[in-house]
């Protein structure tokens, strides 16, 4: 049995190569209980590749991934029972209603007292009025809320969020951030969060990792990291990572 105080996610020396091209290069980091870690970087930096490997849909070339101490390459099903995710590029089937989708995925994740849990999430994500609406006819913001409700179904120890608020209006995005912070504060789960919204990252994340060309370039507190590298804001630091990563590597 994994220790209760074990890291929620432990990634060691993770690499993924496609022929000559290296997408993720010797990446190691942890997500602790009650921690929200931001995985930042320009497009193509290796964020989604890393998340796909954590989700077990992409096999690493080398390295190890453990969720709650369970090695995903050896006990995939057990490791993923403690995990869930929401991503803008993975909407739920549009030909099922909100409630049907939550029921089907609730059964896949073997959620106890499923009906009760579905009702709870419908209320939490303001989806009660859409319960009988097919997901395909919802607005993109509403679909994102359904994806987040699905991601919370099994009260995951590790929640992976790939740009979860990308298509939400500022008010809904704030509600979602509050929901996710509450989720982290109320249990022992941790979150790995990717976003291009630096304001959001500063508001939500306890720690950030800057990824560039498949490597972790910087790591630290999102509120103090820019000053440490002589930048006025996290956005300015992000732009530097995207355009001039070598200057930071030299530091």
């Amino acid at each position: 049995m994994p220790s209760l105080h074990a890291n929620v996610l432990s990634i060691s020396n993770l690499c993924k190569s496609y022929g000559e091209m290296t997408a993720v290069d010797d990446v190691s980091f942890q997500v602790k209980p009650n921690e929200i870690v931001g995985l930042l970087g320009p497009n193509g930096a290796g964020k989604t590749t890393t998340i796909n490997m954590v989700l077990g849909v992409l096999k690493p070339s080398s390295g190890a991934i453990a969720i709650q101490g369970v090695d995903i390459s050896r006990q995939r099903s057990r490791a993923l029972s403690n995990t869930n995710f929401a991503a803008v590029y993975a909407p739920l089937p549009g030909n099922l209603t909100v409630e049907q989708n939550l029921r089907v995925f609730g059964m896949i994740y073997a959620v106890a007292k499923l009906s009760h849990r579905v009702e709870e999430l419908l209320r939490q994500f303001d989806l009660v009025r859409f319960r009988h609406t097919k997901c395909g006819v919802l607005s993109s913001g509403e679909q994102t809320r359904v994806c987040l409700a699905k991601a919370m179904l099994n009260r995951p120890q590790l929640l992976l969020l790939d740009e979860p608020t990308a298509s939400l209006d500022p008010s809904t995005a704030r509600e979602i951030r509050t929901n996710i912070r509450d989720f982290v504060a109320s249990g022992t789960g941790g979150v790995l969060w990717t976003s291009h919204n630096m304001y959001e990252v500063q508001e939500v994340c306890d720690r950030v990792l800057f990824l560039s060309r498949g490597k972790i370039l910087l790591e630290g507190n999102p509120n103090t990291l820019p000053q440490e590298y002589g930048k006025t804001s996290l956005e300015e630091l992000f732009i530097t990572v995207a355009r001039e990563p070598l200057t930071l590597e030299q530091n």
């Binding site: 077990g56 995939r76 049907q100 059964m107």
Partner: protein
């Protein structure tokens, strides 16, 4: 294996079928049309031949059995295609569901949908054309079972082909039964075929069912080893199809194909 995960795949298909005439009608309409068409052909052949040969159990029964196999196969592939069409692979395969649980879900779904088709076929064939399954006697159950296993194997093979080659490859899957039917002797004895085709027939489990069916209709016994061979080959075919699916799945996970499935290839 967790029952709830297998049930989830079945429930998803139930939700889709329940509210969709375009999914319900094909389960009944095409098989009914097939039975009606072949029902009249057998009636006509009975009249013009005047030989006393039992065309109804020999031909119409063969059509019914072949349609059953086709429905079993399509029951699996259709349930799989729902995940393809709704771009649901990432949600499904990034969940704790295992490949055996997913395949078991597809198989149970197929049992439900093909049973409905079978009931429709039997009803039309019995009441409109007087096909009596008593003509096959106790052999009906093993005939159906071998065909069911063969349909499962073809269904899993079809899903593996589509998983490997992408959504457009579904057009390779639909004609599989039509391609196989000349080799398994649905309508004629295998002795009609040239030698090279008979060699292929020998490794196809349905061949043994249709040969056996014609023996029964002609009033002969079906040798036990004939059915046993058909059954053994069908089980082997399922094992090979599962092995192929797992191989394709592993390739898809290694290359990232599952995460980028709509691209059809990662090269």
């Amino acid at each position: 294996m967790r029952f709830s995960r297998i049930a989830a795949i079945v429930l998803r298909q139930y939700y889709l079928v329940r509210g969709s005439p375009s999914r319900i009608l094909p389960m009944f309409v095409w098989v009914a049309i097939d039975i009606v068409l072949w029902g009249f052909i057998t009636k006509y052949l009975t009249v013009i031949s005047g030989t006393g040969f039992h065309f109804v159990p020999a031909l119409l029964g063969a059509v019914l059995l072949w349609d059953f196999l086709t429905r079993v196969m399509q029951g699996i592939t259709m349930a799989f295609f729902e995940d393809v069409w709704s771009r649901n692979f990432l949600n499904v395969f990034a969940s704790p569901i295992s490949v055996p649980e997913y395949l078991a879900g597809l198989v149970v779904t197929s049992i439900c949908t093909s049973s409905l088709g079978l009931v429709m076929m039997v009803t039309v064939a019995t009441f409109a054309f007087g096909l009596s399954f008593f003509a096959y006697g106790a052999m009906l159950a093993p005939f159906l079972f071998v065909l069911f296993l063969s349909g499962i194997a073809l269904g899993i093979l079809g899903t593996a082909i589509v998983l490997r080659l992408g959504p457009a490859a579904e057009w390779f899957v639909w004609p599989i039964p039509a391609v196989l039917s000349p080799f398994v002797g649905v309508f004629y004895p295998l002795s009609t075929l040239p030698k090279w085709m008979r060699m292929i027939s020998r490794v196809l489990p349905p061949s043994y069912v249709f040969e056996g069916m014609r023996s029964v209709v002609a009033g002969h016994r079906v040798p036990a080893h004939t059915l046993a061979t058909g059954f053994g080959l069908a089980v082997l075919a399922i094992l090979l199809a599962c092995w192929f699916f797992v191989r394709v799945y592993r390739y898809a996970v290694e290359t990232g194909l599952i995460a980028r499935y709509s691209a059809e290839s990662v090269s």
